[in-house]
């Protein structure tokens, strides 16, 4: 089996699962309980926060543990918008965000907020000038995805952050869910105020995430209750999930350099092979894209059929993002890039991780060719 859907989710490291099992079995106390079991669990939580902060080069009290990327993005966007609505009700984001950002923004529009959706060029990138021109007196939040989940295109986060330093009242949120361990981002240096991560995208388990919230940023909590997580999100902490996520983050970042080198080579090899195949259009830009995502369209064919054909060959890819593919929607990012309905309906995404190897490339390529021939025979 060749798993090429790592942007949807990654296979958890076995060490991570071991950690989860041990903590869930032995440290089941509620961290808020006064007794010893509670204090042991709390200690693990404290250590997790400290270690996570060290790994991300930020301060422990800037780490909020969440349930994942969607919660993180929702808390960042709605939380920042509500907490700072006295300052302004204008939000800027892009047309190629993950649904957990774009839908949260839509919801805010119902609450009377105004949202500017920045367009992207044919590579999928926003322009810094557009962003600059969109900033108004009442802009409270800018939310930009670092690595697009469908095509892997990168946004110039550091430049945006530097530009936003001239607008100290504007909060800068970055969805870094696809980037962690694959595209380095210096949170502090890039002037990022809020940053979303999700454990299962870096070989951790589903149900845990991290939201970096820079000291001094206020967010209105979406979940009220026992005021856990510095009051940003209530609810008994998922200690086993958090500890195992910390381990996943450490392993991911320790291997990051090696992983990037490896998947960059695989991606280059795949790209050169794929671009030689008739009927295939590569949508991922050559420069300024993440090393793990390749998006291509198979001219004229529905991508869903292609996914199943490859599956018969034990190669697992996806259509658009996992979140939208169930709805049979054309790729939103490709439409925004002006690629047109036809290419957007036939988009395939390959997403790599450190578990893939260069030896898999010939098999992937031959499976793709085989499936294409089958398709042509049946549909053509």
């Amino acid at each position: 089996m060749i798993y090429l859907d790592n942007s949807a989710t990654t296979k958890p490291y076995s060490e991570v699962i071991d950690s989860f099992i041990k903590v869930a079995a032995n440290y089941y106390g509620n961290p808020s309980s006064l007794h010893m079991l509670g204090s042991q669990a709390e200690k693990l939580l404290l250590q997790s926060r400290q270690k996570t902060a060290n790994l991300l080069h930020v301060h422990p009290h800037e780490i909020v543990f969440t349930t994942g990327g969607s919660e993180g993005n929702n808390l960042a966007i709605k939380g920042a918008a509500f907490a700072n609505r006295g300052r302004g009700r204008h939000i800027i984001t892009t047309t190629i965000e993950h649904p957990s950002v774009s839908e949260a923004c839509k919801q805010l529009e119902d609450f009377g907020f105004e949202v500017t959706y920045l367009p992207v060029n044919n590579e999928g990138r926003i322009s810094l000038t557009d962003l600059k021109d969109s900033i108004r007196e009442d802009t409270s939040l800018v939310s930009i995805i670092h690595v697009n989940n469908e095509t892997g295109v990168l946004q110039p986060i550091e430049e945006i952050g530097n530009m936003l330093k001239n607008h100290p009242k504007v909060i800068f949120h970055v969805d870094h869910v696809q980037g962690i361990g694959k595209v380095p981002l210096d949170i502090k240096k890039s002037g990022v105020d809020i940053c979303t991560l999700s454990a299962h995208k870096f070989n951790g388990l589903k149900g845990s995430g991290i939201l970096f919230v820079r000291e001094g940023i206020s967010l209105t909590p979406l979940i009220s209750g026992g005021e856990q997580e510095m009051k940003f999100r209530s609810g008994t902490e998922n200690v086993a999930g958090i500890v195992s996520m910390t381990k996943a983050l450490r392993l991911t970042l320790e291997k990051s350099h090696e992983t990037i080198n490896k998947i960059t080579t695989i991606k280059e090899k795949l790209l050169s092979e794929l671009s030689g195949i008739k009927n295939i259009t590569i949508n991922t830009p050559e420069n300024g894209s993440a090393p793990h995502i390749i998006n291509f369209s198979i001219d004229g064919f529905k991508s869903e059929v292609f996914v199943h054909l490859l599956e018969e060959d034990d190669v697992f890819v996806s259509t658009t993002s996992a979140c939208s593919s169930k709805k049979h929607m054309p790729s939103k990012t490709l439409l925004a890039m002006g690629k047109g309905q036809k290419l957007a309906n036939s988009a395939i995404r390959i997403s790599l991780s450190g578990n893939n190897s260069i030896e898999e490339v010939p098999k992937i390529v031959s499976s793709i060719k085989k499936s294409l021939m089958k398709l042509e025979r049946i549909m053509g």
Binding site: S19, K22, V23, L34, M36, S39, E42, K43, L44, Q47, S48, K51, H59, P60, H61, V243, S244, T246, K247, R250
Partner: protein
């Protein structure tokens, strides 16, 4: 080519006359201990400098640690190269490029200790400076107030190049001014007092009063975490945990409510003093700040201090709470200190403690019980933990991360 050594300059040590060697020895020992995670390094002492040879150990991690070693005025990363013009030029460029130099100004300062070297100082300044300028972008020369001063010291045996002076922590090497017992409650003030004391060369042993079940395991852990944080500045610190429950219960029973706090404080000081004697320390350090709480009015201090003639050092006595908080944040003890657990002082706090206690009265109230025996017992049952950066780590738990 890369940075292969660090040149360390002393602070006040230089003025310490005949004690100088003792100070330098202590400093180099402290440096070695703080850098114990890097076994490759070698330390070389000279009269006015310490050289740390890196032998391949990572310089950025090591410089981060050195900024917390007291007694260091400043230090610089240095490159050693052969005393050959082309090699010097290349080394200077490498050292320069390692810095965040874009948009900055620089100059070259050559010290030509080897008077036989073919070129003169000014020619060398020009040669090296123009080489750096030619091979970089976005850099200008400013010989009066440069952002970066490329210092080149040409000796017969080798040439040393340093580019940037990094500010050290200042102060005096920990341990050069004797040992003190620090009363560590877990609040904001006492860790800051410890830090300031260590900065002036004190070696600290921490004393914490533990009153289960009135205080929890968590408050003890909090203190251990604080001490661990303080090991940033001193490689290893002893923490004495004093069993204090019995004495607190006796005080509750024996001493009137509004005097119980003063009495508790006096007992703590007595115990600390007895322990100090045992540990051959010469002073007691506290985080008391004048007028901050009822036990820290001048009248209270007078009544409490009455139990000993040992010097009590109060580094934060004249500081505002906000100033103390600033330092606590700087040394990263703030987040630990504000963890909301009861400590032995808060749990028995009377509703209206005396702010102007009389020492005669408190001695009278205490005279009905033989506290000496209780104190003796407490001192004998002290649990001492040696805390260092690695201690308190528990492999079983560490494996989880």
């Amino acid at each position: 080519m890369q940075y292969d050594r660090i040149l360390v300059r002393f602070g006040e040590i230089s003025t310490k006359g005949r004690n100088r060697n003792r100070f330098i020895d202590k400093l180099s020992k402290n440096i070695r201990q703080q850098l114990s995670a890097y076994p490759g390094i070698m330390i070389e002492k000279t009269r006015d400098r310490i050289f740390i040879k890196l032998n391949g150990e990572p310089h950025n991690e090591i410089t981060a640690i050195l900024t917390n070693v007291f007694g260091i005025n400043s230090f610089s990363l240095a490159v050693k190269t052969k005393s050959d013009l082309d090699m010097i030029k290349d080394a200077a460029l490498v050292a320069f490029k390692d810095l965040d130099y874009k948009g900055k100004t620089f100059k070259v300062t050559v010290k030509r200790a080897d008077k036989q070297f073919p070129l003169e100082t000014n020619e060398l300044n020009y040669e090296i400076g123009s080489y750096v300028l030619k091979n970089t972008k976005d850099v200008t020369v400013d010989v009066h107030k440069p952002d970066i001063n490329v210092r080149v010291e040409i000796r017969k045996e080798a040439t040393y190049i340093t580019c940037m002076d990094i500010q050290g922590a200042g102060g005096l090497p920990v341990g050069t001014n004797g040992r003190a017992m620090l009363m560590l409650s877990g609040g904001l003030d006492s860790p800051v007092a410890a830090y300031l004391g260590m900065k002036r060369g004190l070696e600290i042993e921490a004393v914490h009063f533990y009153s289960p079940p009135y205080t929890s395991e968590r408050s003890k852990q909090k203190v251990i975490d604080l001490v661990k944080k303080l090991t940033t500045f001193s490689p290893s610190i002893k923490l004495h945990i004093v069993p204090f429950t019995e004495i607190q219960e006796v005080i509750q029973k024996q001493v009137p409510d509004n005097y119980s706090l003063i009495s508790t404080r006096r007992m703590m000081l007595k115990i600390t003093d007895a322990l100090r004697n045992k540990q051959n320390a010469l002073a007691i350090a506290t985080g008391e700040s004048l007028g901050q709480v009822a036990s820290q009015t001048l009248e209270s201090m007078y009544a409490i201090n009455d139990v000993t003639s040992t010097p009590v050092i109060r580094p934060v006595v004249a500081m505002d709470k906000l100033e103390i908080i600033d330092i606590a944040k700087e040394i990263d003890t703030y987040d630990i200190s504000i963890r909301p657990f009861e400590d032995c002082c808060t749990i028995f706090t009377p509703s209206a403690p005396k702010t102007r206690p009389k020492k005669e009265k408190v001695s009278y109230y205490e005279s009905f019980v033989d506290f000496e025996e209780l104190i003796h017992k407490a001192v004998d049952n002290i649990d001492t933990i040696e805390v260092n950066a690695k201690s308190t780590s528990n492999t079983e738990v560490d494996d989880l991360f």
